[in-house]
């Protein structure tokens, strides 16, 4: 799977650009493809601290994963970057997501159920917004 999306709030600090995130993600996907692996759909949410608080996200680097998918809502991951997140926060979160993809694949294939649910996964290191 090659598709990913970046959603930003207009008030997010400009220290990470969508172009940077997109370029790094594309390179990562291509490297995975070259090694015979695939990336699930990914949504990068880059929001200000005020928006994060309103939607219940407390820290940068949070990864969410809908463990089951439906025809309408596919199996996908979310990575949240909050406020003054650094680019390294995204790199660590993406690495954490890839490790989780491999762990989930090692357990069982995704099931199709009518009620998707999500669970947060944190990268091994826990970078906070600078």
């Amino acid at each position: 799977m090659n598709h990913f999306a970046i959603f930003r709030s207009a008030d997010v600090p400009p220290n990470i650009s969508s172009d940077e995130l997109a370029a790094y993600t594309q390179r990562t996907i291509l490297r995975m493809q070259q090694s015979g692996k695939s990336m699930p759909p990914l949504v990068i949410m880059h929001v200000s601290e005020s928006v994060a608080a309103l939607v219940g996200v407390s820290k940068t680097g949070l990864i969410r994963h809908n463990l089951s998918g439906t025809r309408e809502l596919p199996f996908y991951y979310e990575i949240w970057l909050v406020g003054n997140a650094a680019f390294t926060d995204y790199v660590l979160a993406l690495q954490g997501m890839i490790r989780d993809v491999e762990a989930v694949k090692g357990l069982s294939p995704p099931a199709i159920t009518p009620s998707p649910s999500t669970q947060p996964i944190l990268p091994d290191s826990k970078p906070n917004a600078a």
Binding site: A5, F7, S9, V43, I121
Partner: protein, 96 residues
């Protein structure tokens, strides 16, 4: 959330007052076309679902990115629009 084929929706923004296809009214963020009276957040959520659906990318082999910037209000609406009822019920898998 109801689903709909986004390819039938003209997603372009209006830059002229006489554009009846997608003329966004100031502050209301609603199209003036009765067939598409929906918020930017709702349309973005549907666009995302369509984007993540593998069948929407026929013949594409390279990684493809959808990048959207929304206002604070719109992105909060977007999260609630995109999130299923049990989405907020979360646990920390790695720490458990």
């Amino acid at each position: 959330m109801s689903s709909r084929d986004l390819r039938t929706i003209d997603m372009r923004l209006s830059f002229s007052d006489d554009d009846t296809l997608a003329n966004l009214v100031d502050n209301s963020k609603f199209s003036n076309n009765p067939a598409r009276r929906t918020t930017i957040a709702a349309r973005s959520a549907r666009l995302l679902l369509e984007w993540l659906n593998p069948s929407s990318h026929i013949g594409r082999s390279e990684p493809t990115c959808l990048a959207i910037t929304l206002t604070c209000k719109e992105i909060v609406e977007f999260v609630h629009e995109n999130r299923q009822p049990d989405f907020a019920s979360v646990t920390d898998r790695r720490s458990s």
